[in-house]
């Protein structure tokens, strides 16, 4: 099982977390046209490799955070709080 570093609680088992999909999506607004809405609702980068994604610590602090993870070997590169930009340096979580 994966061990995930929650920015608030520290390292916990993956079964405590919910996956929240791709991070840093630009939200659609009431003024958005159908194409923008499709992009926000459905289209995903679905990266093979280093990607930024959202996680929710459901059975812990119940707070959202972001993570950088490699989807080929599932290794977490780092986790960071919402509102922050993805750290560029590689640190072992």
């Amino acid at each position: 099982m994966l061990l995930i570093e929650c920015p608030w609680c520290g390292q916990c088992e993956q079964s405590e977390f919910h996956y929240g999909g791709e991070a840093h999506l630009t939200r659609a607004t009431p003024e958005s046209d159908n194409t923008e809405l499709t992009g926000f609702l459905f289209l995903r980068s679905n990266v093979r490799g280093d990607t930024a994604e959202r996680w929710f610590h459901a059975a812990g602090c119940r707070r959202w955070f972001n993570a950088r993870r490699n989807t080929v070997d599932d290794r977490f590169i780092c986790t960071y709080k919402p509102g922050q930009n993805a750290p560029q340096e590689t640190t072992d979580a």
Binding site: L37, L41, T71
Partner: protein, 426 residues
Amino acid sequence: MILPAAKCGACNMQRYSLFNLIRQSLGYHRGWQSNWRTPAPKDHYDIVIVGGGGHGLATAYYLAKKHGINRVAVIEKGWLGGGNTGRNTTIVRSNYLYDESSALFEHAMQLWEGLSQELNYNVMFSQRGLMHLAHNEHDLHEITRRCHAIRMNGIDSELLTPRQIKQRVPMINLNARFPVLGALYQGRAGTARHDAVAWGYARGADALGVDIIQNCEVLGFDIQNNEVRGVHTTQGLIRADKVGCVAAGNSSVLAAKAGLKLPLESATLQAFVSEPLKPMLDSVVTSNTVHCYVSQSDKGELVIGGSSDPYNSYSQRGGFDQIEHVVGPMVELYPVISRLKMMRQWGGTVDLAPDRSPILGESAVSNLYFNCGWGTGGFKAPPGSGDLFADSLANDRMHPILQPFGLERFTSGELIDEGAAAGVAH
């Protein structure tokens, strides 16, 4: 003594028959030819199919067989059927709620029923019947509704009582933590041999002149004036009038190389097999509520699967916790297997669409087509998907059965929401 086997009339293929078996046995079986050639890619093809799994090979086969287009190449980055075609639980069914899905999957089912004869290759299609269990009042309402909808579409479907389920599956524990209250049953559903589907279609396509090029990865597309002209591969540029991408879990990666984004997320779906047992289960039993499904292979192993891992991944491995999620309900439903050992586990990368229905259609790039989004249920469809996708590629328009499955549905909102209908990915 090496004897040439009798060939079939129109093509160069060595047919499998009792006569040929006897003939070859006289030569100590050294006269069998390989099932397909290993050609070097040509400079130009009418159609290039990217992805040598069941769907891609079936597309190539029907292009050559039904439409007479044999200047076709199938490009595979690994080996044939090494992706999801070889990484599933081999279940075939066509009992879907919506008309669009029914049309598509029933078309596939009807082709499955004659596939071994069509390909002269035993795909071991076994229509042993499939049950969806209901564990609560809501499940009962849902399967009743689905049963009627399926019958309205002319597809066989019936409801079973707990007593009937027990008769068919004596080892089931009806009074489990989530009791078994009924089941939706399709008698024509069943299993098939996964590798044989890839090999059978590859052999058939090759005999009709299709070039199957393995160990050849697509690095990019040659796109001019928003029209695809070919693919850049590890074996050089291969020009093509049309390109069909049938790459399952790696579809998004391919799309990105053409500058496109697809409504797909790739996740790992795991399955496992037990040690072999004497015959104990002669149908397929699935449960959406506790989410595990099981059948018994011809070798006697129980083939077990569940839901996909909960996060995007291309690892083809999956997490241990997901195994526990599947094995727990399995032991509760079938206490007799509690001491059974699991022999092998594997994972495939499934491409999940938001509505859990496949995506087939032309992309924003002209002549670049996608056949993807089959998610956790692709194995039941290669014949139908290949036949209809080939028809669409050959005629430059989507086949009427495939029209609802285009990318436009994510903008128009006309989703085919089988995911919500079944309550799970399926």
